[in-house]
Subunit: 240 residues, 2 copies
DNA sequence: ACCTGAACACCGTTCAAGT
DNA sequence: ACCTGAACACCGTTCAAGT
């Protein structure tokens, strides 16, 4: 007899909990506040439920993190698999794939951290790497060179590298004063930074992550291609 | 009057606490049990003191982690600075430096994690990078190319890369059976792995981290050198 | 100046209890 | 079958109190 009143009072928590809903909430939480903001208690809170209820749909926090990666990788796989492997030279295709994956990853700042922290052999990740390996094969790379290439690319194959130096720092009058102080201690770095910022129009944000990523990616892909051609050349020389 | 008895009873905790002693104990703890095993409470326990006493010598846990990195980097700097920059071709010198740094890092499994987790601009790290930048300059690299080269190397300049795939896995009869199952889902990876392990003498540990690291390092250094030479060639062509 | 104990605000996870 | 509340064993850090 109170049914009407009940549905009116709280219409939100009608959708039943599920593994998928938990994972999506976890991704939202991490997108907003970073991986540190993700706790089982906050996750439960966001879903309008006690933290302990989550354990009915998820094995524990590790399982949540693994699941988040799988959701993300499925999203990436769906996108990169639309790229036709024979739509152009192998390098262009590889580039397009990697940069498409990167685009997705950039929307999820927690992804590099989480990806690197786990021993990752889940199906969606394997599926991704399998396609990359396949692309090398199709381009005539030997098994060995493909293997080394995968290692050389490392996390770059997925579209990211953990940046060691965050140089998005603004160069206000404070830091420029500090630069002079540092000039004696780190003459080469200071020389490099000051010359680059002087040449550019803007003094802030003196390097472009995207550009640097593509530079290194091309460096590696070009190098691998050269090794492939050298290998092929050596093989034909042997038979002649 | 009880002094003799006191010194006999506990002779160990005579050395007074200090920032340095805290940091070295932290490194020991992390070396043994990984970074997760490092807590302020356990750190205090190891030093025979209440956790809260540490705060007299250290600002907090973040400061401990920063300090650990600095201790490590000082050790590395001391070693790599013994390498004479003009003792050979730039690439050989760079290689030797990077691999020497790597050797130290390999003794501290927590280092990659901690290094990547902090926004690192401390003096010992800057000192390290400054020497690398200096080496590029000395080898005739332009400011821009040096800059891109630093980014391309990334954490590799320090001697490590966060491995995405840990393939030290042993291939026992269990996993080989699994491989066949996976063959349909990940044909390229399975093909690559099986062929490589078949060619090699041993079926376990089918790749050598050190070899892969050096392969990628050489790939990048070779690529950078080629770009440097092309730049120089373009410059002379312009003047003639 | 240095160390301590109790306390606070958090964690992940277990378990018996509820419906 | 699913959710809850209390509890356990941990965190980092603050603060008043001791010496």
């Amino acid at each position: 007899m109170l049914m009407a009143g009940q549905t009116k009072l709280k219409a939100e928590p009608r959708i039943p909990l599920s593994r998928e809903r938990v994972l999506h909430a976890a991704i939202e939480l991490a997108d907003e506040g970073g991986v540190d903001a993700l706790s089982m208690r906050k996750l439960g809170q966001r879903l309008g439920v006690e933290a302990m209820s989550l354990y009915n749909h998820v094995a524990g926090k590790d399982d949540v993190l693994d699941g988040m990666v799988d959701v993300l990788m499925n999203e990436i796989n769906e996108i990169v698999n639309k790229i036709e492997p024979s739509s152009g030279p192998w390098k262009a295709v590889m580039r397009e794939r990697v940069l498409a994956a990167r685009k997705v990853l950039l929307r999820h700042p927690w992804a590099p951290d989480v990806l690197e922290s786990r021993q990752n052999l889940s199906a969606p990740i394997m599926k991704y790497y399998d396609a990359v390996v396949g692309l090398f094969f199709q381009a005539g790379f030997s098994v060995d060179l493909t293997h080394h290439g995968m290692h050389a690319l490392g996390s770059r194959a997925l579209g990211f590298t953990q940046e060691m130096y965050d140089d998005s720092g603004e160069l206000d009058e404070n830091t420029t004063a500090m630069l002079e102080q540092m000039a004696t201690e780190f003459p080469n770095i200071v020389g490099m930074v000051s010359q680059i910022t002087h040449d550019a129009d803007s003094t802030l944000g003196w390097c472009d992550d995207q550009y640097e990523f593509e530079f290194a990616l091309d460096l590696i892909l070009d190098g691998l291609e050269r090794l492939r051609d050298r290998e092929a050349q050596a093989a034909t020389a042997e038979t002649s």
